[in-house]
């Protein structure tokens, strides 16, 4: 499923909304999550999962071709942890 298919499903569920509003709604949700993580915040969506930011320490890396040592700066990367409900559903355990 890609973004446009997701938008289409939401539009089908909500015939009273304009297509362009559905697009804005879906885009706003994803934009809000990225914006939060860019601010160093966590986004916890119970049952679905949680988006957070992990810090990667500075390290001395190596150029795999030449073997030269290169200093890699500290950086922050996005991380997603699947929620319990979704993890269970993926394994055929439906909620009661």
């Amino acid at each position: 499923m890609i973004r446009s298919e997701l938008i289409q499903k939401i539009a089908d569920d909500n015939p009273h909304l304009y297509q362009r509003d559905v697009e804005r709604i879906v885009n706003t949700i994803f934009e809000e999550i990225i914006g939060a993580m860019a601010d160093g915040d966590r986004v916890e969506l119970r049952g679905f999962g949680a988006f957070s930011v992990k810090k990667r320490d500075a390290r001395t890396g190596r150029n795999p071709r030449t073997g030269d040592a290169v200093e890699v700066e500290e950086k922050h990367v996005p991380f997603f942890k699947t929620g319990k409900l979704l993890r269970d559903r993926l394994n055929g355990i439906e909620p009661e």
Partner: protein, 101 residues
């Protein structure tokens, strides 16, 4: 880094501000989006949201694990796990936003 935790409420508040639907309907729409994504993943589909990231389902084989406390061997049954691969845009914005001044 402010270290806040956002929830569904913050997402529906953003939808409310952006589109001007009622708070109630905004909340329902956020839930619907998560529900459709979850359903597709449960069906084994990959969910690819351009400029956000890709959620995909992977099968893990059975293996023998160990209870780290007792050292006892425990069988781990085969299972399906979800992995998320962030887009370049997300990685770049998260790296830039959290960079030390």
């Amino acid at each position: 880094m402010s270290g806040r935790t956002l929830t569904r409420m913050d997402l529906s508040e953003a939808v409310f501000r952006e589109v001007g639907l009622s708070r109630n309907e905004s909340a329902t729409l956020v839930e619907t989006v998560l529900q459709h994504m979850s359903d597709a993943l449960v069906e084994g589909e990959t969910v690819k949201i351009s400029s956000f990231g890709t959620f995909s389902v992977r099968d893990k084989a059975a293996r023998v694990g160990r209870n780290p406390k007792t050292g006892e061997e425990v069988p781990i049954s085969p299972r399906r796990v979800l992995t998320f691969r962030p887009s370049h845009l997300m990685k770049d914005r998260v790296a830039a936003g959290n960079k030390k001044a």
